[in-house]
Symmetry: C2
Subunit: 347 residues, 2 copies
Amino acid sequence: MPRAPTYAASGVSRPALGRAVRALIEAARYRAPRSHGLALPAPGHYAGLLKVGRETLALTTDTVGTKVLLAEQLGRWEEVGEDAVAINVNDLAAVGARPAGLVDTVLCEAPDPATFAAIGRGLARGLARARCSLLGGESAAVREIVRGFDLGATALGFFPGRRRPILGGRIAPGDVLLGIPSSGFHANGFTLIRRIVRIARVDLHRPRAGARLSVGRELLTATRTYIDASEALADRPFTHGLAHLSGGGVRNLPRIGPNVRFVLDRWGEPPPLARWLQEAGDVRDREMFQTFNMGIGFVAVVAPARANAALRALERAGVRDARSIGTVESGRGVALPEFGLRYEGYT
Amino acid sequence: MPRAPTYAASGVSRPALGRAVRALIEAARYRAPRSHGLALPAPGHYAGLLKVGRETLALTTDTVGTKVLLAEQLGRWEEVGEDAVAINVNDLAAVGARPAGLVDTVLCEAPDPATFAAIGRGLARGLARARCSLLGGESAAVREIVRGFDLGATALGFFPGRRRPILGGRIAPGDVLLGIPSSGFHANGFTLIRRIVRIARVDLHRPRAGARLSVGRELLTATRTYIDASEALADRPFTHGLAHLSGGGVRNLPRIGPNVRFVLDRWGEPPPLARWLQEAGDVRDREMFQTFNMGIGFVAVVAPARANAALRALERAGVRDARSIGTVESGRGVALPEFGLRYEGYT
């Protein structure tokens, strides 16, 4: 194993994918007439926005990625079913949209009712946490294209009452950053995680030192849903921005505030599981924080004078583990002084 | 090659997939509170329906399936890019929804800017035909899950003005069936098509007798978009039902009318390409009509006294090739008397 594995080295080249995606977006440009709805600009944001009749809607799509390969290895499918909902509704949460409907996609080599039922139970759990309806889905047996399973979903959200999309436009130096803990690695970075597990010959069926669950079960833990947090904050004027720390880790923050610096000076100690993985793979902090959520899965940017009001609103909504993790300063990018890290932006 | 290949024999077992999907749907049951929108029942229909605030919305998702393998073989990606839009907006067309927004999913082994750009050009063409905005997408390099490419999309539609979803509830014996021609095999049945091509040793780069384009180019032809047809009919009270003849061929009709019989007694001669494939693969009519669209890709069910008015409305919208292909009778299922075929329903 090389000294410091990066996400690119584990088989996922972000710059190459970025170039290809930009080529697709450039070629796919088309402007629809107003009679077919009005797409609202939200470049680089977590969900596409569209005004249709009298409603503003948010649409977002994502797949569970290579976490399904861990599910297959462990023969457990409920967690990734729940992930398929959570990763999408959390992107809705990041624009302040309330989840309303979801469609799932299950592509497989061979359809097996027991696996499909387990995925369905996971979907139900995710839907209940997000209070979102399942509107349909697509299932296909395409053994020439997919090895094992591919699992994804698309979620549709709306802005109830007078709520407006929260895109970060009011983020300003002095704002406070509130962090809400993650439930584990969620569904990001699993190509690197699985590489470390393989090379370090980790036994997935045993607990690591100090843990109760097996490593496999810990790694598979379903993604936390941040809808309660978003619903508690999205109607409040003190909420300047919301961010879902998915793939890209803390580098997601510049997506909602490209012209400020996010100084995360009270991050605290990353979760034991993350540190354990980091040690097993001999991975640098720099790579960990730009690949994984490192313990914080969702960030709210709030007006400084109202940070306590925001924390109380979260508590009333049942989100009792939010805490201040930093502040917004003038500048650009992300800084984690506790770890001696700086990032320029989101790539 | 066996005497009469079926879709199941070519690697896609519809009953097995059906069992798995039913297990997933059963397990995924969850009823969201009214504050998160109201899912409207449309069982077995082409799109999920949801009331959000003052708007009714339709959401549908589908992938291009194994047609991408033909695209890869021929090194042409624009057609399947266009398909990814068309197959989804045609499902919206079948509930009378107007397309508003789409998100795409491109999963690949390795991201290549030229291929992504060609897919993007195809998406743009499909979006322009449907007058639909691209709201975002998900692209991932997941070489452990996907061989080559997987290409799909999710489309969001709405019901402008006083329009209501068209679900077939007013279909009655006596109604006239108007058929609108397809542009080829669209994106259905390609596992069987590719099997026939392989076993019959078809040279994809040469035209079949009587054709100008190579067989490969003919097979790859992008899916026709039926939005103009749907928009011309969806606000008219004489329109009792709309059906997209996608995977399952004529067996899609009982989806919109489970308690009537669709008698297709003026289908006419299937397209030369379909007959050529049938002969090359020694496939029975029964299998052809329940796997492919056989020349008609979209069907409108209209009140008998207004069939000519419907044809005129289609003509005014630029849809000049619609024609009467049959009538609704009492009973169940689908009959094609010209071909001596009967089907019980949609499986």
